[in-house]
Amino acid sequence: MQYQIELQLHNQPAVLERVLQVVRYRQFHLEGMQMQPEGQDKLTVQLKVSGQHSINILTSQLNKLYDLARLTIQHEMPLKATA
């Protein structure tokens, strides 16, 4: 399955690395990423990820990040078959 997730983060040292480390370690693939600073210390990140496991495996771990303020799963769709 492929998922689009929106994260609102506190813009602290290594915050993006923390997010990407969790995605990699929990066996999801990063398909796309957009990042937008918001004000002085916030960051909105949209991630497109794919993986074989339940998305809860990833989101429950991301939810534990100290600098994460909000996580929303925006879209969930089957992976496109390759030709």
Binding site: P13, K64, R70
Partner: protein, 537 residues
């Protein structure tokens, strides 16, 4: 240097170990034996990297540890300066969180946040990296308030059960009422959540059979009739059979790890699952829960149903206990010292609150199987990471925290060599840890696997060139002796336990003795092997 200079005039008690890994494991020993946060410090570069194995150990075993690392000055950071390493980057996957302090004004609040975070929810290590110029600066201005992220849509209070959890508890109570064969599966989270008493009250009220993980050992009252002991790869047959036959598992503060479950898709095949854990990420991670309770276990246990009946199942479990009872007493004609029998005798001589730390390998499993514990805070064993070299430095920290108790480090000969330099720390502070080196001249657990599962192709597991450990210990200023005959076991254990000094007893064991039972890898837990054949029930 500025931190150590300040310590000269500080009331903080500081203990210098001979390797930073020793310091972090000693802090783990202090934290695990007290269920409270402990602190370790390392300097920049190699000092920081030397801490990291133990920090990873603390992460996997949920140990509240505050780790302080020195860093090069902020002006030099990012320039590959002497003894500069990106410790923040290295820490990402092995800490709950890590901070870098950029200005002295941030330091008070970051330290407080880091300390609080070590024990908030599921405990774990938190690292604070502090550049040298921050150490040298004086705090003249008002401390800064560091923005602490608030989480939205997140239940931050562990003192109240939210509606989702109350609904899950209602489902759990239905499952309990309809169960004919329930088993309580006890993990290390129960004691970390200060719920040992609540759990034993639940057991007394229900009479439910109970099994424990490695880290849960000691939680269930040892006199509780249906305390079936440890489950898993080296678990006891009654525990493994009961779990495989159960129709309901009530999992409390445990993460269903692979060494406990065996082959996952054949684990407890007929059981529904109630899973209680403070860390929501553990629920459903390895097996879906029929009732998922993401909450503080102390709040949950009093709300679980007590009026449940399963007399036939209790009789079945009692029968399993009787069927697999074994005798572990030395007989007069025995020549060779047996590891399990030695540890049974040691267990009988210890007070109920004494502490045993161990390394990793065969002796670690013998400790889990044969020493009786009254609390997981008395059994310090590297569970998740399985770090050889854990035992001696963990015992140092546990003894400093518990000066009135006997603290015994049960070490394998392979593991002992991995932090042997901490004998100097024992001597420096005259810390009366007792070290029992169980020497079979092998990396025994690997040898066991090579023997059983790799056609006896022994590769790099022979340690017959070990040093004479008693002489090494004496050179470090310890009292030491060698134990090599069954006739001397009792007297030498007594000498060892009664000593007021740091002391070492070097026990010569056969290289042939293995840990039994064993569940072969990728095999269901009911397929245990005993010494000569598979056992059946």
């Amino acid at each position: 240097m500025p931190l150590y200079d300040a310590m000269l005039d500080s009331p903080v008690s500081h203990y210098l170990t001979r390797h930073e890994q020793g310091a972090a494991f000693a802090a783990i020993g202090q934290a695990r034996s007290s269920n409270q946060t402990a602190v370790c410090i390392g300097t920049s570069g190699p000092g920081a990297t030397n801490l990291l194995t133990a920090v990873a150990d603390a992460k996997l075993d949920s140990v509240p540890l505050l780790v302080l690392t020195g860093q090069v000055p902020t002006s030099a950071m990012g320039s590959d300066a002497f003894q500069e390493v990106d410790v923040l980057g290295l820490s990402l996957s092995i800490t709950k969180h890590s901070f870098v302090v950029e200005r002295i004004e941030q330091l008070p609040e970051i330290l407080q946040s880091a300390w609080d975070l070590t024990i908030e929810g599921r405990p774990g290590p938190v690292l604070v990296d502090i550049p040298k110029d921050v150490f040298l600066a004086e705090l003249n201005a008002q401390p800064e308030t560091v923005s602490k992220p608030g989480k939205e849509n997140f239940n931050s209070s562990i003192n109240e059960l939210d509606n989702n959890n109350l609904q899950s508890i209602a489902i759990a109570n239905q499952l309990l009422k309809s169960s004919q064969k329930p088993v309580l599966y006890v993990g290390g989270g129960v004691v970390m959540g200060h719920a040992q008493q609540a759990l034993n009250e639940f057991l007394q009220d229900t009479g439910m059979p109970a099994v424990s993980t490695l880290k849960g050992l000691g939680t269930v009252d040892k006199d509780y009739a249906l305390n079936l002991g440890m489950l898993g790869m080296h678990g006891l047959p009654p525990a493994n059979y009961a779990v495989q036959e159960a129709d309901l598992l009530l999992v409390a503060g445990a993460r269903l790890d692979d060494r406990a479950t065996g082959k996952l898709n054949e684990f407890a095949p007929n059981a529904k699952l109630i899973h209680i854990d403070i860390d929501a990420a553990e629920i459903g991670k390895r097996r879906a829960a029929d009732a998922a309770i993401k909450a503080d276990i102390k709040q949950v246990l009093p709300k679980l149903c007590r009026e449940i009946q399963f007399a036939d199942w209790q009789a079945r479990c009692a029968n399993l206990q009787q069927q697999y009872q074994q005798n572990y007493v030395f007989s007069p004609q025995e020549q060779q010292i047996s590891g399990p029998k030695l540890l049974r005798m040691l267990s009988n001589k210890l007070n109920h609150s004494d502490i045993v730390c161990c390394d990793v390998g065969q002796h670690q499993m013998w400790v889990a199987q044969h020493i009786q514990f009254s609390s997981p805070t008395s059994h310090l064993s590297s569970g998740g990471l399985g770090t050889m070299g854990f035992g001696l430095p963990a015992a140092i920290g546990a003894q400093l925290e518990n000066p009135q108790k006997n603290v015994v480090a049960v070490c394998g000969d392979g593991s002992f060599m991995m932090n042997i330099q901490e004998l100097a720390t024992l001597n420096r502070y005259r810390i009366p840890v007792k070290i029992l080196v169980m020497d079979n001249q092998r990396l025994g657990m690997v040898k066991q696997w090579q023997e059983l599962f790799n056609e006896e192709r022994y590769s790099e597991t022979n340690l017959s060139d070990n040093p004479e450990f008693s002489k090494v210990a004496q050179a470090f200023g310890l009292e030491a002796d060698v134990l090599e005959s069954v006739a001397d076991v009792e007297a030498k254990l007594d000498w060892f336990l009664q000593s007021d000094s740091p002391s070492l007893l070097h026990v010569r064991l056969s290289s042939q003795e293995n840990v039994w039972p064993i569940v072969p890898p990728n095999t269901a837990n009911h397929n245990m092997m005993e010494e000569h054949h598979a056992i059946s029930n």
